[in-house]
């Protein structure tokens, strides 16, 4: 049998069966599919889908699911307001420049006055979201230096941001300011496919002393650690924070209005019922997005001109204040999943909000094993595997029952049972995959702090696998391969009868 002649015959037989397979043989052979083969096929398909990210589809699905979750589920119904009550944004916008008749850029002394006005309210901390890089001559620079001293004296933490990727080797912060010893932090915001969905855990150190691992915390994490570290110990961030964007605008923002698609001026608090929200989002998610920021915001002209206003007092007292700009010329705007374009300062504010709301345990994009981050794709494949095992087992048992049924006498059943209950049970259990995957995902969120974007593909892939199992793909592949390999449908063995070829049968 192992002579070259026999080997050649076997090969030509296999090629012939591959080209012109016999349907009835394959139908019989597919019922003999082993459990391990079903598991292997499904694992291969899931791995391909998750690892290869065909056409970027997987990434898009993950991030879009996260956006939809923020917009329709988490943001409006589940995200807490603890952080919202502790964070504010003091903004310099076009109206501020117009009201104060002060064109941009401001003198250092103008910033010093704003900072001093904020200091009167004894905030928890103030973060300046402006870069002071240019060494322009300004005799009021010493006022800003003096203001840093006032903050220090009042024990109110003050943070400056350092310039990054500066083209001419400029200092990240003017030396006159940096020499005061004020903390300088990296303000980078990672943009995921054009939208601010994540937040860095680490950044450049500038004047900070690196930690044990040689890195320095990003802006939000540094401020949180300094202000809330004793109250809420900060969890180790394995790679990046996944931002959860709130949608319920802070009540203090009653002075801001929005314009809807029809040009109507509406309050930022115009409520939308659950059904309407979902109905509108079904056709166009932008219909339920709001330009109103979630974080409480007040213009700095209000602090200077109306310092005793109750809203200003509420927003500035005992809160972490981000002092930033919303200026047309500044180009510091970022898309968010729930607002479209917002000034970049709100991304830092939202990161701080997340850290406070989740008590230092924000959602993450990676889990760690033994202190090392685990690849997200590997986590998703591992999360899909139990679903594959269960799906395969149920499917394989069904096939085995069918095979036994074909060989032995049929059990007597009523027509109702045969055509309604049995068929229903036979098909419906595939949807179990969805439930299983959702359960695995929620488990990952609860136990490992992974965000929905990092496990939602498990759900989609599981549904896809269930559909493939429903149409019998793994057993069809087995039937075909077994047939090509010369499997004998008659005796159930895989022994290859050498002469059993299409050509041979024709003879």
């Amino acid at each position: 049998m192992t002579s070259p002649q026999h080997r050649s015959k076997r090969m030509s037989g296999a090629i012939a069966r591959a080209r012109r397979p016999k349907k009835e043989h394959m139908e019989t052979l597919r019922l003999r599919v082993p459990y391990w083969f079903v598991v292997t096929v499904l694992t291969a398909i899931a791995s391909f889908q998750i690892w290869m990210n065909p056409f970027g589809f997987s990434d898009l699905v993950q991030r879009y699911s996260q956006d939809v979750s923020d917009l329709l589920i988490t943001g409006p119904y589940f995200y807490g307001t603890e952080g919202r009550n502790d964070v504010s944004v003091a903004i310099v916008d076009e109206n501020t420049l117009h009201t104060l008749n002060s064109p941009w850029p401001w003198k250092y002394g103008d910033h010093a006055r704003v900072l001093d006005a904020l200091l009167q309210y004894k905030p928890k901390a103030v973060v300046i979201d402006f870069l002071f890089v240019d060494s322009r001559p300004d005799e009021t620079l010493k006022d800003l230096v003096a203001e840093i001293g006032r903050y220090r004296k009042a024990h109110v933490p003050l943070y400056f941001e350092g310039g990054i990727d500066l083209p001419y080797g400029e200092n990240p912060l003017r030396p006159e300011l940096a020499n005061t010893g004020v903390p300088v932090i990296d303000p980078s915001i990672p943009i995921n496919q054009g939208v601010a969905r994540q937040y860095s855990a680490t950044g450049r150190c500038f004047t900070q002393k690196p930690g044990g691992d040689g890195t320095c915390p990003s802006l939000g994490l540094r401020v949180f650690h300094d202000v809330y570290g004793k109250q809420y110990p900060l969890a180790h961030i394995n790679d990046m924070m996944e931002l959860v964007w709130g949608t319920r605008t802070a009540p203090e923002n009653h002075w801001i209005t929005r314009t809807d698609a029809n040009g109507n001026q509406l309050s930022c608090f115009a409520q939308m019922s659950l059904l309407k929200r979902w109905y509108l989002a079904f056709f166009d998610t932008s219909a339920v997005k709001s330009p109103c920021p979630y974080t409480a915001e007040f213009p700095v002209d209000a602090v200077l001109l109306h310092p005793d206003d109750k809203d200003v007092v509420k927003m500035a007292t005992n809160r972490v204040i981000f002092y930033g700009g919303a200026l047309q010329a500044a180009q510091d705007r970022t898309y968010t999943p729930v607002n479209d374009l917002l000034p970049g300062v709100f991304v830092h504010a939202m990161a701080m909000d997340n850290l406070i709301t989740f008590h230092g345990q924000p959602y993450q994009n990676a889990i760690s094993l033994g202190g090392n981050p685990v690849n997200g794709n590997m986590v998703q494949i591992a999360a899909t595997f139990p679903v594959i095992l269960i799906l395969s087992w149920i499917h394989w048992r069904g096939i085995r029952r069918k095979r036994r049924g074909l060989g032995g006498p049929q059990r007597r059943r009523s027509i109702t049972f045969e055509y309604v209950i049995e068929k229903m049970v036979e098909k419906v259990w595939h949807y179990l995959a969805l439930g299983l995957a959702l359960g695995v995902g929620l488990l990952l969120t609860r136990s490992a702090g992974l965000s929905v974007a990092n496990w939602v593909e498990v759900v989609f892939v599981s549904a896809e696998l269930a559909a493939l199992v429903l149409v019998g793909l793994p057993d069809s592949i087995w039937g075909y391969l077994h047939h090509v390999a010369g499997g004998n449908p008659g005796d159930g063995s895989a022994a290859v009868p050498v002469l059993e070829t299409v050509e041979g049968q024709a003879v």
């Binding site: 916008d93 002394g109 006055r113 209005t257 309050s267 200077l304 200003v312």
Partner: protein, 134 residues
């Protein structure tokens, strides 16, 4: 405990209101725009509306009922002190204006359309009303 906290808060509020009212009453004779008293523990004095800081005085040494001799477009207030003229930021003092302060609103905001004269106004006050629920 809560009653005690409430009592202290009420007393503090009364003391604050009394101080503000007292300052206003004390300057009842002064006409026109007047700086009633210092609002912050220290008051910075500037050499111009957009100038540099030349001096800082403590609250107790800042004059009361000082007439406002000039108002800059950025709302810095000019006052006389020891025979010299200085500019002070508006948030550092309590003042009384005969005119109106600009409304603080963005786009078309919620709130009352009533204009209050001679007093500071809140965010959203003086802005046109809009549709939609609040």
């Amino acid at each position: 405990m809560r009653v005690g906290v409430g009592l202290y808060a009420g007393m503090a509020l009364l003391a604050f209101a009394h101080s503000a009212l007292a300052a206003d009453e004390a300057c009842a004779g002064a006409t026109g725009d007047v700086v009633l008293q210092a609002r912050t523990p220290e008051v910075d004095l500037y050499d111009g509306p957009s100038g540099k800081k030349v001096m800082t005085v403590v609250q107790a040494k800042f004059p009361s009922c000082a007439p406002i001799t000039g108002r800059a477009s950025n709302f810095m207030l000019q006052v006389s002190m020891n025979g010299a003229k200085y500019w002070v930021p508006p948030y550092m003092v309590k003042y009384r204006f005969s005119g109106k302060l600009p409304a603080v609103c963005r786009n078309l905001a919620m709130g009352s359309n009533e204009q209050k004269v001679g007093s500071t106004r809140g965010l959203g006050e003086g802005c046109p009303k809009t549709g939609g629920s609040h």
